[in-house]
């Protein structure tokens, strides 16, 4: 059975994945064009999206871990 933490984790993973895919696509398109503007697009849009995607992913790991620890503590308390 999937609990709410896992649902939230899945949502955040999806968000991180989508941000990363868009960032990687921006990088791919920027590499097809040898022009100063493609560098600007890569650094301002592509790298920003990649950074956001990685941060969302790492944040989701931290949140999941914290929620897991809370659950363990609550289980011990109930016992």
């Amino acid at each position: 059975m999937i609990n709410s933490q896992e649902l939230m984790m899945a949502k955040r993973l999806r968000l991180a994945g989508i941000l990363l895919i868009i960032g990687l696509l921006v990088e791919a398109f920027s590499l097809l064009w040898n022009h100063p503007l493609s560098f600007i697009a890569f650094t301002s849009v592509g790298l920003f999206l990649l950074f956001c995607g990685v941060v969302v992913y790492l944040f989701s790991l931290l949140q999941y871990r914290a929620a897991e620890e809370r659950t363990v503590v609550e289980d011990h308390t109930n016992v």
């Binding site: 895919i21 560098f39 650094t43 790298l47 992913y57």
Partner: protein, 207 residues
């Protein structure tokens, strides 16, 4: 790393991310967690670094510099059929790599190389090109430094033993210390010479 290899890595990374996004429940298992960590953290970071490196390498290309409209005449000047035109003589005789001609002689003039000031200037050039009004004609921020010539010519026989260079012992000292400019001291003073470009013949490279 070649651009094709970066594209392969990009495709692999996107593939892994698509798997994680489509089936996030796989991350409940240990293998899925590792796959997600690789696909959502390790590979994107690595691919971003490779992409940045690739952009830096491409910025050295002559086509990169000439992609801005204002640089067009400077690119044209490389084909002037007159050996007194220093950049043209270097470009046509392979004294500088043709695909990195601008970068070879203007190493302090890009976004990526040189000090912080050079990088800010590079960004300023992009800003002025698209959002401002570029100077017409454009000019160097500071007089051309002999260092750029000496990268290659220092130690070469024709430079070190050239009649004019050795006529007075002080001449060589002044050239090497940038006190006597190679370009503006009346010796090698025909450079891009943009105003005269419509009065010269052009070299056509063999196909």
């Amino acid at each position: 790393m070649p651009t094709a290899a970066v594209f392969v890595l990009l495709a692999v990374t996107i593939g892994i991310i698509v798997i994680v996004v489509a089936k996030p429940e796989i991350t409940m298992a240990r293998g899925g967690k590792i796959l997600a960590f690789i696909g959502l953290f390790i590979f994107p970071g690595f691919v971003a670094l490779l992409g940045f490196d690739n952009h830096v390498e491409r910025s050295k290309k002559t086509t990169f510099c000439l992609s801005c409209h204002i640089m067009g005449p400077y690119g044209k000047s490389l084909y002037v059929d007159d050996p007194s035109y220093i950049p043209a003589a270097h470009f046509q005789n392979g004294r500088v790599p043709r695909d990195e001609a601008c970068y070879t002689c203007h190493t302090d003039y890009t976004i990526y190389y040189g000090g912080i000031r050079a990088k800010m200037r590079g960004l300023h050039h992009i800003y002025v090109q698209y959002l401002g009004k570029p100077n017409n004609p454009i000019h160097l921020y500071s007089p051309y430094n002999n260092r750029e010539c000496l990268h290659c010519h220092e130690g070469s026989r024709s430079f070190e033993q050239g009649a004019v260079h050795t006529a007075d012992p002080q001449t060589m000292v002044d050239i090497k210390s940038n006190k006597l400019s190679c370009l503006s001291s009346g010796c090698h003073d025909t450079v891009h010479n943009i105003p005269k470009l419509n009065q010269v013949k052009y070299w056509e490279p063999p196909k």
